[in-house]
Symmetry: C2
Subunit: 228 residues, 2 copies
């Protein structure tokens, strides 16, 4: 038995490309010999820390990204649908409360990351598929309920996510990403022979597979494997 | 016999990601049922026209791109090697003369685009592999000589590339790219059922193949095909 390669996935539910990367990695952790570490972080902190600007501020780039996401959504089989007001959803409302909530879910989950995975997915579904709020406690609770958390668990998480401990944890994960050299999300960090190798975005999977000695068979490995 | 799908490739030799895209497309035009149209254009004009900024101005992004290009160079089998002073080479010296030269080569070539392909490649090799100048007439001549042009052809091209006609042609190709919605290079425009579909960068080939009904077998289809 060879030891599993550790891959850290830094993400924020504000980012649609992170959703694509998240789903691909959640699929491939059942296919590749890897240990996936979900690292919920805060993209606005990355942009500020790295001095980067959101790509959507250039009009031609914004139009292209809308088209690109539409095509990728179908190809990756992820039900992406931009919110009616993407700028309000992404920049005015933001995801600070949502990402603290995800960190709190992770903090209290033991023996795996099923809850973190499911809650993250439900939050993406709200903002990037159903055009719903993810800033209010009621919105976060609804996502957690759909993810299978009990009422008492949700209450605990809501209490936890306003604590200094959770705020600090989100900040330190975001700092970890910056220290690796992040300037946006998703950011994947593969630990290969004790060395971190960074891959930014949701379009380096083929190259990443090559670097970790695995095989890329497209964004839907389950369906693809069935076809082979 | 089905008619070939037309794919336009907008590029500038200032851009290393364009080199990767260019080599991949030159390989795949022998594999896919496509007609590749090389569209040498001027990236600085695109950036200004689209209000975009070069990604390398964000320090973390610059460091990542250096690493990314190094890995892609090996994986794509394209001998990329950053110039010793990338900012001087890309922004201070620039590629206006070089791209006018390429357009002039294209203008006088008949019955194909072998010369345009080879001259473009030799210019990329100079700036993005051998750290050599591509602004002086002697530098352009040397590249053209390596690409197989005769002395008299080179003389003609050098004379041609200072004419209003060629300057206008480079400008109008750049405007074509902007009108398609370009904000950087490489930009690929696939004509599918009479509709243009844009793909930016050198990381959408798998998706593009899916959209045009072809199969992506990695960046080295010749070597890959031999292995199958």
């Amino acid at each position: 038995m060879t030891s599993k390669k550790v891959i850290e996935l830094f993400y924020d539910v504000v980012s649609p490309y992170s959703w694509l990367g998240f789903e691909v990695m959640c699929r491939y952790r059942k296919v590749w010999n890897i240990e996936l570490k979900l690292r919920p972080a805060y993209l606005a902190g990355i942009m500020q820390g790295a001095g980067n600007k959101p790509p959507g501020l250039v009009p031609n780039k914004f139009m292209y990204m809308t088209k690109d996401l539409h095509r990728l959504s179908e190809y990756f089989d992820v039900p992406l649908q931009p919110p009616s007001d993407p700028f309000e959803a992404m920049f005015q409302k933001g995801t600070l409360a949502a990402m603290r909530f995800v960190v709190a879910v992770q903090e209290r989950e033991v023996g795996g990351d099923e809850q973190v995975e499911k809650v993250s997915r439900e939050l993406w579904r709200r903002i990037w598929s159903e055009d719903k709020d993810i800033t209010q406690p009621a919105s976060l609770s609804e996502a957690a309920m759909k993810a299978g958390l009990s009422d008492s668990e949700i209450k605990e998480v809501l209490k936890l996510c306003t604590t200094k401990d959770i705020k600090d944890k989100l900040r330190s994960t975001t700092e970890d990403a910056l220290n690796y050299g992040a300037f946006g999300f998703p950011m994947l960090v593969c630990h290969i022979n004790g060395k971190p190798e960074m891959f930014f975005g949701s379009d380096r999977f083929e190259l990443m597979a090559h670097c970790i000695g695995e095989k890329w068979i497209g964004p839907k490995p389950d369906k693809q494997a069935a076809k082979l």
